[in-house]
């Protein structure tokens, strides 16, 4: 039982990254626009995050150092500061969107204008961070988030031709209604969502919060091998359902309510209830992940005491950062910005900074000062290096593609 419960750090990290407010909509939108032709981008992203999350979990278990410690140590204070500022702003934008997402999920159930619910959502997130033990937090929201598996149930109930679904995914082509540029832009958005840096900030810091040691290296491996592929599977299920139900009816997806539509039409009220719970949990989980990550990365950059495992008095600056971030993000959310647009932009902007986060992880997972005898093997380094090349290409291509396609329009 303990082994099973131990995987929820990975599950929550992945749910917050793969199926947060922006990605719920992005996955459904790509399914409706591109059918299954972009499924490969999710798969490539899952493999990448599994490789790098394993490394940062291993480094955290053996050295007690989380990802932003590694960034500062390998890039030096200036480059690390550039990464810190970018990552912090991305966290803030994403958090604003997630708070709006939590409020939207509540408003779909309670029919109140969601803007009124944003302060309430922010307060709830803060209370969980202030009072709830880390492991309870990851289990509650990880477990609730699994209700999103209802998308997979709905796909199964539609009863697609599985052979052609797999065949379509395995032989991608650019649909005639799209350009190579929009195809590449959405591929980067899906890949970027899979490898969002706050996932590794949260995962590695969580490993330190849970006081992992060398004995937990197996737990680390199970976490990454179950959590992140599960996040990817949820992503693909949403895409597939949208491809099966929405695409034939020419429905374009631009809002959260349209994501719930196909499940409700296939599974009825019970299905809809499950989706709403799942969306609430996923956006809430992502809000926890991004607000904590904001505190983690600043604390690690400056060497402050950080973490939920300490009494707030003993990690005062960390808690103040989390509090301030929640207030600012809440205020930003109340202005009525479109949360879906905000996360989509922030994912793509995050993609531009990806190598600055992942390169130090790769270097220090090979440093015996940090990992002792558990250095990367040759195979690991081979694949991790290939991904580093992909990350650099993605980071260079991202902003030009955003401009050419007018952000995927």
């Amino acid at each position: 039982m303990k082994r099973i419960l131990a995987v929820f750090l990975g599950v929550l990290s992945a749910i917050g990254g793969f199926v947060d407010i922006g990605d719920l909509v992005a996955n459904a939108a790509t399914g409706a626009r591109f059918d299954m032709n972009l499924a490969w981008a999710v798969v490539v992203g899952v493999v990448g995050i599994v490789i790098y999350a394993e490394m940062c979990g291993r480094v955290a278990a053996l050295s007690k150092r989380a990802v932003f410690d590694l960034v500062r140590e390998r890039l030096g204070p200036r480059m690390a500061l550039a990464n810190l500022v970018a990552s912090f702003l991305i966290n803030l934008l994403t958090l604003a969107a997630e708070l709006a997402g939590v409020a939207l999920a509540l408003s779909l159930a309670a029919s109140v204008n969601y803007l009124f619910l944003i302060p309430f959502a922010a307060l709830l997130v803060w209370l969980v961070i202030w009072r709830m033990p880390f492991e309870t937090m990851e289990r509650v929201f990880g477990l609730l988030g699994l209700t999103l598996l209802v998308f997979a149930v709905a796909v199964w109930r539609v009863g697609p031709d599985w052979g052609s679904l797999v065949h379509d995914s395995a032989t991608p082509r650019i649909p005639s209604s799209e350009t190579p540029w929009t195809f590449a832009y959405y591929a980067i958005a899906l890949f970027g969502a899979a490898m969002t840096p706050y996932e590794v900030f949260f995962f590695s810091s969580g490993a330190v919060e849970e006081r992992w040691t060398e004995k937990d290296l197996a737990t680390n491996r199970i976490n990454v091998l179950i959590g992140f592929p599960l996040g990817g599977a949820l992503s693909l299920a949403i895409m597939a359902l949208s491809h099966l139900v929405l695409a034939p009816r020419n429905i374009d997806v631009g809002a959260l309510s349209q994501v719930t539509l196909p499940v409700a039409s296939v599974l009825g009220r019970l299905g809809l209830a499950a989706v709403l719970i799942g969306i609430f949990a996923a956006t809430f989980g992502a809000a926890l992940e991004t607000s904590l990550s904001a505190g983690y990365i600043i604390g690690q950059y400056f060497g402050w005491p950080w973490g939920k495992f300490l009494r707030p008095r003993r990690a005062a600056r960390f808690h103040v950062v989390v509090l301030i971030v929640l207030v600012i993000a809440g205020l930003f959310g109340i202005t009525g910005v479109d949360p879906v647009k905000v996360t989509e932009y922030s994912i793509v902007l995050a993609a531009a900074a990806l190598p600055l986060t992942y390169f130090p992880i790769l270097v220090l997972a090979n440093d015996s000062d940090y990992v002792g005898e558990h250095r990367n093997g040759r195979v690991m380094n081979f694949f991790a290096s290939i991904y580093l090349v992909i990350l650099v290409i993605v980071s260079l291509a991202t902003i030009p593609l955003m401009i050419i396609t007018k952000a995927g329009a």
Binding site: G76, P77, F302, G303, R311, P312, R313, R317, H319, V320
Partner: protein, 133 residues
């Protein structure tokens, strides 16, 4: 106390930007800079102190005036005006990904703002002294 025997190290790789921890294992800043001193015959450079704190970080990143001001300002808040951002090497207990020091976090410059935030903000919120587990 006699200075311990020196060892060779790559300060840029094995020292700079690493995490500091006090005698109670409380995280208390990073190695923001290192003080180097020549031996008498000027042939060997010794790392004689770890420099840590916002002023030292600002200096290392090129903000000389801001850095000097911060170093002096934080020194001014101590009882005897000593510089809490300079940690002599004899107070270093072990080197590694974490550097353990024989000091109390409260006596270091990197901890100054922690104290202020704790006393003026966090301790006013109910539950600030409860462990979350």
């Amino acid at each position: 106390m006699a200075e311990p025997a020196a060892r060779t190290l790559w300060a840029g790789l094995e020292l700079l930007d690493r995490q500091l921890r006090d005698r109670h294992r409380v995280l208390c800043g990073n190695v923001d800079d290192v003080e180097l001193t020549y031996s008498e015959d000027r042939r060997i450079l010794y790392a004689t102190a770890i420099l840590s704190g916002p002023g030292r970080l600002a200096r290392r990143m090129g903000g000389r005036r801001l850095g000097d001001w911060l170093v002096a300002f934080i020194a001014g808040t101590t009882n005897d005006n000593h510089d809490p951002s300079r940690i002599p090497f004899r107070l270093v207990q072990s080197l590694g990904p974490v550097i353990d020091l024989a000091v109390d976090a409260a006596d270091l410059a990197a901890h100054a703002t922690e104290r202020w935030v704790r006393d003026h903000v966090i301790s006013h919120i109910p539950g600030s002294d409860d462990a979350a587990e």
